[in-house]
């Protein structure tokens, strides 16, 4: 008896839950309303069946409960009834399937006039490429990937020279124009998914896959990787920014082509040395870092990382939080560097500075630290040596007080929280693995042991 009532209550409860649930599809921001329609049709059909079948179940259980004066009916078959039920089910199924297949046909056939962009996935970042003026993407190969050529473009293919490279987790697209997204992976499987656009597809190494959509709302939308791609899968986020046509052009004009990126000079040591004079006051003549001034060590830092951070300070993506006074100071100081070339030179110089052995006084538990560092090591390297391809700076050699301060800043959202900080969100998520001060001390202490006898 109870079971019959409970089943009725579960059916009613499910319906109530469905209608009051605040958890539902995020508002659509693309042309794929047809997908939402198909979902609604399917929900109605399946919902009706769910209610009918289970109410019938409850009724039968209630009605035909054991009674010792009654005997069950004996009816092995009823061909007519079974035939009808089969036919009705088949019609219901066809009614769901048919519209679904039509929508699928329009999903896999990309409109002729679509723009093309390429999305490149790697553990655990996104980057993007546009075909440039010739409308054609240049050839690429995994073997050609290097720090200078992170997309692995073939220099011999002339159509690649004007390809626009966006080595960041953020992509811009213009509103109301259909876009064909070509998907390529450098390492493992990934999945390009933007919930507001409704469509998603895997990135498969060794082949190029695709999807298409037409953005219909201006705004910033999060890209999620939705195919398990390793330990930091959950931090593989990016953004698609849907711009008005004008904003898009402005953004586009600031991007570099492949040819331009190859032409960036290594950096001028002499000029770098001159520019560094402005930094030496706080960071020390040898870039050794000065604790009393809260200035980290710079010596030997990879120039790609120095460049990225200086650009962030200049654009006030770092150093704007009210609780980050040193960051604010750095943001002001960074304005002294006039242009990209100046940043390039000073970064080159800083990289050339020979780090001395940092004095590590942290006394955390090294074996716990080692265990915690496992999660860091995938990107920052077993020896915390840093890895350009993972967008992970070198940590070994850095002062312990600075590392723990920055880890705390990430945890508290003082660092990395700016919407344009495309790498900060990852560290914010990862820093949460260090639950308390003790954990931070342990991992920092362990990192301190990694640069012994290791010069750059």
């Amino acid at each position: 008896m109870a079971i019959a009532i409970v089943i009725v209550l579960l059916v009613i409860g499910s319906l109530i839950f469905h209608y009051v649930s605040p958890w539902w599809f995020t508002p659509l921001a693309s042309n794929w309303g047809a997908i939402d329609d198909t979902i609604n049709i399917t929900l109605w059909v399946t919902g009706i069946v769910f209610v009918l079948v289970n109410l019938f179940l409850a009724y039968v259980v209630f009605r035909f409960q054991y009674n010792k004066n009654r005997r069950a009916h004996y009816e092995p078959e009823n061909t007519k009834l079974e035939g009808w039920l089969t036919a009705i089910t088949a019609i219901g199924v066809a009614g769901m399937l048919a519209p679904g297949l039509f929508v699928w046909a329009s999903f896999i056939n990309v409109p002729q006039e679509s723009d093309v962009i390429e999305v490149v996935g790697q553990q655990w970042h996104w980057s993007f490429r546009l075909p440039g003026n010739d409308g054609e993407l240049g050839r690429t190969a995994i073997a050609l990937i290097s720090e200078k050529n992170p997309f692995g473009l073939d220099t011999k293919d002339s159509s690649g020279q004007d390809d626009i490279l966006i080595l960041s987790n953020e992509m811009h697209i213009p509103i109301d124009r259909p876009v064909k997204v070509l998907l390529r992976s450098k390492d493992v499987l990934h999945n390009f998914a933007v919930p507001q656009f409704r469509v998603k597809m895997d990135l498969v190494p060794g082949t190029v896959t695709y999807l298409w959509f037409k953005p219909t709302k201006i705004g910033r939308f999060e890209i999620l990787c939705e195919e398990l791609c390793g330990v930091a899968h959950y931090t593989m986020r990016g953004s698609v920014v849907v711009d008005s046509a004008e904003d898009y052009q402005t953004w586009l004009s600031e991007q570099q082509t492949f040819a331009q990126s190859m032409a960036v000079p290594l950096g001028d040591m002499e000029k770098g040395w001159e520019l560094y004079a402005g930094c030496a006051g706080c960071h020390g003549a040898q870039g050794e870092g000065i604790k009393s001034l809260n200035a980290p060590r710079l010596a030997g830092m990879s120039s790609w990382y120095t460049k990225r951070q200086l650009a962030y300070f200049q654009k006030k993506i770092r150093g704007t939080d009210a609780n980050d006074t040193s960051g604010q100071l750095m943001s002001q100081m960074s304005q002294l560097l006039a242009d990209k070339a100046a940043i390039n030179d000073v970064a080159f110089y800083i990289n050339s500075l020979k780090p001395d052995e940092a004095a590590h006084s942290s006394t955390g538990d090294l074996s716990k630290g080692k265990q915690l560092f496992r999660s860091c090591s995938y990107c920052h390297g077993e020896k915390a040596e840093g890895n350009f391809f993972m967008n992970a700076p070198k940590l070994s050699g850095q002062h312990d007080w600075y590392l723990s301060q920055q880890l705390n800043n990430y945890k508290k959202g003082i660092r990395g929280n700016h919407p344009f900080d495309l790498y900060g969100s990852q560290m914010m998520l990862m820093s949460r693995l260090l639950h308390d001060e003790k954990a931070i001390l342990d991992v920092v202490s362990y990192i301190g042991t990694l640069d012994k006898g290791l010069s750059k």
């Binding site: 079948v53 005997r71 039920l85 553990q123 998603k200 498969v204 899968h233 693995l433 954990a439």
Partner: protein, 602 residues
């Protein structure tokens, strides 16, 4: 050409050697019943490990940043091992190795499996595979965290937990399991085809046997695909071949592979993986049918349709695999084909649901614990089946694929539902296995806790999926489109999951307690018709039937036959032995009864 004559197994005299020593009786046993119990205990034991793993995974999702022993690596390892253990080492092993072994010879009226020695080897090989699997928890780097689907390239590359050793242990364990399954499976199929009692035509077999039979054939055809993919991946990992490995970087370094196809693995995996769903589901379908018929005192409605539905589902299950791959980057035109075949499979499946309902219709339903679980199954399976229609319809899958909707769906349809049947089956057949009933009061606590608890886990989980929360995320962090309340929902799911987990301890306690202190059950406590209840000893002795094998005279569902005194007629009762109610109408009813057996000659 000379014609040799063979004696049918059913006509052979019982010349089996009955084991004497404790070891040959209970350890190196060749008795299908002992092997079944060995399989079941091992499977339930390893299943409890997987249950604990799911609890730890849920702790992280419900209460992120609270448990320092869970980091992203261990989280993925919990997810992976939970999934693989539950699907393969618990469900497959318990349904086929456990119930298959116990029920096949008894239900078809045989003394044992036709290859008892192979049957014994099957169990010990299975145990080895479990040991290798569990050993991976103790190797450097721990078990694999590649997800239960083990997709390459990441499964074998640094950057995925367990890429050092765990993945190798997993692949070896799977290979060993498949060897064990093959030994068991060949045995089940051969036994069903060759060792049925006299009169036990195929169309008189109980649906349990039909479900196990077809599921075993599926397994024999599907597991080889997994075996070869495991071997190929092992070569990629250990020898440096490139079956599944194109030219790629690994954490920024160029590694020495080229030309392989990751999608090839997915095709092989799901060519196994989808039939696997039915390897679990079909025995469950069969067993629940028998539980429903027995406890509702009613013949199964549309028996022939039920058999053909099992066969049709089994056949179709081999042409739907790529519905797991709609967004995998395979040729998108496959979507049309696989969406169509997938939705077609809904028809025979729906028929089964209708027929269970129509079996209950005008029945005389005893709300015993097995019956409660069977009703719970109909509810959860309907729910899970219907959400499957959504995911099977290719474009609806686009937004929902890889989200918690998928997780909720497959847990409803191949987690909760088969487990409901397993519980129904354990409460139903325990009296035959041990001679004792399981305790009813504890059973009620177990049923209500499990049924309501699992629904409280999985109904809300679908809505996280609608929202777009991706699966296999260690933590969501702050994301614009996900409201804070989603975290509260996650916490409530975790609480429900822990309650359901703890309630299983009641069940384990009940099992152990009832073996010793349970109420005594006779040979046929449920007044059931099928042969296993007609043995003269309970638990049945070695050889099952004593000197002479049963002879079958009717189908498995002669419940409440009009005009007959009892409300059931066992399959081995001859027409002239049926005791009628002494009334005049009796005569025509008997006639009706015979006409109902017209399908028997198939």
């Amino acid at each position: 050409m000379t014609q040799t004559t063979h004696t049918a197994i059913a006509d052979q005299v019982d010349d089996s050697h009955h084991p004497k020593s404790f070891i040959s009786k209970y350890v190196w046993s060749q008795d299908h019943k002992v092997i079944a119990i060995q399989y079941s205990i091992t499977a339930i034991g390893v299943g409890l490990v997987a249950l604990v793993l799911s609890g730890m995974m849920r702790l992280q999702l419900g209460f992120p940043d609270q448990f320092s022993f869970i980091d992203p690596s261990s989280y993925l390892q919990f997810v992976t091992m939970h999934g693989m253990i539950m699907v393969i080492y618990l469900l497959t092993a318990l349904l086929l190795g456990g119930f298959g072994n116990y029920l096949i010879p008894l239900m078809i009226g045989a003394r044992d499996m036709v290859f008892p020695y192979l049957n014994m080897l099957s169990y010990w090989t299975y145990l080895l595979s479990v040991i290798v699997l569990l050993a991976s928890f103790f190797v450097t780097g721990g078990p694999t965290g590649a997800g239960w689907t083990l997709y390459p390239p990441q499964a074998v590359l640094n950057g995925t937990p367990g890429a050092e050793n765990g993945i190798v242990f997993m692949l070896i364990s799977l290979a060993i399991f498949i060897v064990a399954f093959t030994m068991g499976g060949l045995n089940y199929v051969t036994t069903i085809l060759q060792a049925r009692a006299k009169g036990m035509t195929l169309m008189r077999m109980p649906l349990t046997i039909w479900g196990i039979f077809v599921a075993t054939i599926l397994g024999l055809l599907a597991f080889p695909a997994l075996l070869v993919s495991a071997i190929m991946m092992m070569f990629d990992k250990l020898v440096g071949t490139s079956f599944f490995m194109p030219a790629i970087l690994s954490l920024g370094e160029n590694i020495d592979h080229k030309g392989g196809s990751p999608i090839l693995f997915q095709h092989l995996f799901w060519f196994f993986g989808h039939p696997e769903v039915y390897i679990v589901a079909l025995p469950a379908f069969g067993m629940v049918s028998d539980v429903i018929a027995t406890h509702a005192r009613k013949n199964i409605f549309g028996y022939r349709m039920m058999v053909w539905a099992i066969v049709a589902i089994g056949g179709l299950s081999f042409v739907v695999w790529a519905h797991h791959m709609y967004v995998s980057g395979m040729n998108p035109y496959f979507g049309f084909f696989f969406a169509t075949t997938t939705l077609i499979i809904a028809v025979p499946t729906a028929i089964k649901v209708y027929n269970w309902l129509l079996t209950l219709w005008q029945g005389n339903i005893h709300l015993t614990i097995p019956m409660l679980f069977a009703i719970g199954f109909i509810f959860t399976f309907t729910h899970g089946g219907l959400t499957g229609l959504m995911l099977g319809n290719v474009v609806v899958d686009l937004p929902l694929s890889d989200t918690y909707f998928v997780v909720a769906h497959f847990h409803m349809v191949m987690g909760v539902s088969p487990v409901m049947v397993l519980f129904a089956a354990i409460y139903h057949w325990f009296p035959k296995v041990t001679g004792k009933f399981l305790h009813t009061g504890l059973g009620k606590i177990h049923f209500w806790g499990t049924f309501l608890g699992t629904y409280a886990i999985y109904l809300p989980m679908h809505y996280l999926g609608f929202l777009g929360v991706p699966r296999r995320y260690f933590a969501m962090g702050t994301t614009d489109f996900i409201p804070e309340s989603a975290q509260a929902l996650n916490a409530s799911i975790t609480v429900s999951a822990i309650i359901v987990g703890v309630i299983q301890l009641v069940f384990i306690f009940n099992l152990i307690w009832s073996v010793f202190k349970g109420k005594k059950a006779g040979d046929n406590p449920w007044n059931a018709t099928t042969l296993e209840w007609q043995t003269t000893k309970t638990p049945p002795v070695h050889g099952n039937w004593g000197p002479s094998l049963p002879v079958v005279h009717r189908w498995a569902y002669d419940y409440s036959v009009p005009g007959v005194k009892d409300d059931f007629i066992p399959q081995n009762v001859a027409p002239d032995q049926v005791i009628m109610i002494e009334k005049v109408e009796g005569a025509e009813n008997v006639e009706g009864m015979e006409s109902n057996q017209k399908g028997d000659n198939t």
